[in-house]
Symmetry: C2
Subunit: 488 residues, 2 copies
């Protein structure tokens, strides 16, 4: 942010205001007063979010991951096995005066006064964070066992859908380890009192990758050499001191436990950089033992430095060990072990092992927020201020805007033609002929459109157009046939 | 289906078996015994489904629709307004003997004997089809009003999310009608007893388009002339007699009520044809008054002729009139009327109108099923039979497979190179070196891969490869540099 004199509060409002006004996103059920923890993506927001997801999919597909799609509603027994029914819970406190509930942690504790009204707080027990629902006809008189059978939950992570299908996926990969599966989709957590807009949602989108690996091979990633020189800002759990190290060095010195974990931490860094998260606002922090999820052996968060929220998790990379496959083996009585190959030197006997899982888990909405926050600049241009969203061209919702210079039929007709041609070439362009050209530029700057193509009377004569670049505001005159190349 | 002597039952098992074995889809929670109405898409199925969705998105984007993304969990008040709480319900019967529940309709009635055990059935009342959940901490002692406030439902259609945001979307479109919005996402219906695999799911994917139009303009679609000559097989509600008519003729003679409805029925036909639904297995049937949804004034279903299930709905095109916007206006007290332009002739005064909605609503999973069923052929090739999935190249999950002719290092290395190059060009290819070349061809035929690229010793000498086409099984020898062009 280049503009001075704005506090954290001001900045936040600016982003929320821009997001609402320009059609990126806003609170869901607005006309009924909204509901905490639920947001809707408008036309530009949905497009930006989809671009993040498409780049993510492409990124892991090149790593030879296959994508699957499993259900949002999941039967109770799955979460009995996974431990979520027992352990996926937060402590709550309730205000004796105004009856509001709060999640214990961060800023709220039972010894404090109510953040809403200053009343006295008291412990209100543990609340499971999963949304519950009933599958099929709910019979009034049924016994407890039948009742449980019809209990369903909205998944709190997409990962379980992958673990459940492990055997079919292994067969699809012809019985060989390692292999990786991705899934992008909604997940749900019934947060006790979500108050941080996009940062703590009750319904959100995750992109998860599950890598299944022979535990004896965790220190032997076949492509580790390609990532080992990437420099990372690391905060190990122990002493908590931040250090800048290469991935190779971090694995060698034991800060990162093994090559598989190191490889995927490095890939997370590469992806975030590719979509435009600034390097100087990114670090990797290892979880302390007490903050680790019940299934994790080790976990590193990629954290983004928000002007508003401070360091916040946007991706987690966990070593889940054999926790999930072992749990489902024992609860379903379906054996999930694999006939692993002996090492190349000898050991003709295939051995039975339970694969370990390395899991990079991306919070797509938080990444979306981080991109908006870190891309928005305010600049002085002559006597005016302009707001500009410096999104990378690859993820910008609109690739280019097409304008007639003036509101005249012959220019509008030509501009419309250019617009149609670009759309037909699957380039997502917008057409705009309302207001002055300066105002149209400002609007496109604010929504992050990298290029504006203007049609004027010269165009009618010699088939050239003006292309203006968002960040430099430089204009070049190019033949119409070259528009596509310039945009690409 | 070219093969003779297979009954409906045999055919169905064949498709389900192929889908499971080859990684298209299977029942969810299989290792825990499965749950009726829930399916998971495996690697090939997820890819095919995504291709259908991408073509759909592209199709409507070219029509200048914008996409949005709204929540799956929706507050109770929205469904009070929309009428779903009161009217979105089915009648159930229960077997006195085995206690199974069934939905009344199609094959089950209260006067019949139980389809499971032959026992006596009795009426069991009306069941709302929405999945219910609680948002926030569920307080034991709270009163009815607080309880209702925290009630949420999983959306039974994606459409409400669009209606709720109508005002913001209108502003995004600068206050002008008509405009169109699309949404692709999950929807949920707690079916009483789903027994038809992919045809009646409890969790499914919809692609919905909502067109907002000035009611006085419904007979004046600006691009109607481009679609008016498309021939459709129509079954009007009245006499129920099937007739083949052009869209223009159907609108002129009043069979289809207006140009907007006609335009979008035609577009549905165009889309289904584009992705490969055979014309001779498609018809449009108008709803009889008693089968119409509570919000609809008129509705036409695009029906696919399944060998297994007979005519089944895959898309519905409804005229929802002003039902939804009026309902939300009166429940939320937020006015959703629009200052419409007077006609070009005069009427300087802007008039206030409530837009009407035309809604094409696609069942993506049913379309997926229809494509599998209508694409699967069994043919005699010499002494062998081959199964081949004749999917259009545009939607096939794998675009091409790359093989080394023999399992030799020098061929494998070269094939791997070709594979990497095509992947880098964002062409979704697979590499396979296991088993005989004939067996590899059969595998690709069965999953619908249009091309196989084989690397042999000649390749090492002159950089040419063999490309084999799925349907004709013809092979051509082409220079390696031309592979991309042949695949495109």
């Amino acid at each position: 942010m280049t503009s001075a004199g704005r506090g954290k509060e001001g900045r936040k409002d600016e982003i929320a205001e821009l997001a609402r006004r320009r059609g990126f996103l806003w609170q869901a059920f607005e006309i009924y007063g909204g509901a905490a923890g639920f947001y809707d993506y408008g036309p530009l927001g949905a497009q930006l979010k989809r671009r993040i997801e498409e780049v993510w999919r492409d990124f892991y597909t090149r790593e030879r991951f296959y994508e699957i799609e499993t259900t949002n509603i999941v039967s109770r027994e799955i979460f009995e096995a996974s431990g979520h029914l027992e352990s996926f819970a937060d402590q709550a406190v309730v205000c004796k005066h105004c009856k509001s509930f709060f999640r214990v942690g961060e800023n709220v504790n039972v010894s404090e006064k109510c953040p809403e009204c200053g009343g006295e707080l008291e412990a209100a027990g543990e609340f499971n964070l999963m949304f519950q629902t009933g599958i099929g006809v709910q019979k009034g008189e049924s016994d407890e066992r039948t009742q449980k059978k019809s209990e369903g939950y909205l998944r709190p992570e997409t990962a379980q859908g992958i673990f459940l299908n492990f055997q079919r996926l292994l067969r699809f990969n012809r019985g060989k380890l390692p292999f990786g599966i991705i899934q992008i989709g909604k997940a749900y957590r019934n947060e006790i009192s979500p108050r941080k807009s996009l940062i703590r949602l009750r319904e959100f989108t995750m992109g998860e990758a599950e890598v299944f690996v022979d535990p004896r091979e965790k220190n032997n990633h076949p492509r580790f050499e390609y990532v080992k020189d990437r420099m990372l800002r690391l905060v190990p759990a122990g002493e908590g001191e931040e250090e800048e190290k290469s991935v190779g060095e971090a694995v060698r010195s034991g800060i990162i436990a093994n090559e598989y974990l190191g490889y995927h931490i490095s890939k997370v860094g590469e992806f975030l950089e590719r979509i435009g998260i600034p390097r100087d606002k990114l670090r990797f922090r290892q979880h302390r033992r007490e903050e680790m999820a019940h299934y994790a052996r080790d976990c590193w968060d990629a954290e983004f430095l928000s002007e508003r929220y401070g360091w916040m998790e946007i991706v987690g990379v966990a070593d889940r060990g054999d926790y999930d496959l072992s749990a489902h083996t024992s609860f379903s009585n379906v054996n999930m072990s694999v006939h692993a190959q002996g090492d190349a030197q000898g050991e003709a006997e295939p051995e039975k092992i339970i694969p370990h899982v390395i899991e990079p888990s991306y919070g797509i909405d938080r990444i979306f927020y981080a991109l908006l926050e870190s891309s928005l600049y305010e600049e002085q241009v002559g006597k005016e201020k302009r707001k500009v969203l410096r999104l990378k061209s690859e993820i910008a919702p609109i690739k280019a805007a097409v304008f007639p210079l003036l509101n005249r039929d012959e220019l509008k007709k030509k501009a419309e033609e250019v617009f149609q041609k670009l759309r037909a070439a699957s380039i997502f362009v917008e057409y705009d002929d309302s207001g002055s050209i300066g105002r149209r530029y400002r609007r496109q700057d604010e929504i992050g459109t990298p290029y504006c193509v203007t049609i004027d009377y010269e165009t009618l004569e010699d088939d050239t157009v003006t292309i203006r670049e968002r960040d430099t505001m430089k204009q070049v005159r190019v033949p119409m046939v070259e528009i596509k190349d310039v945009l690409a």
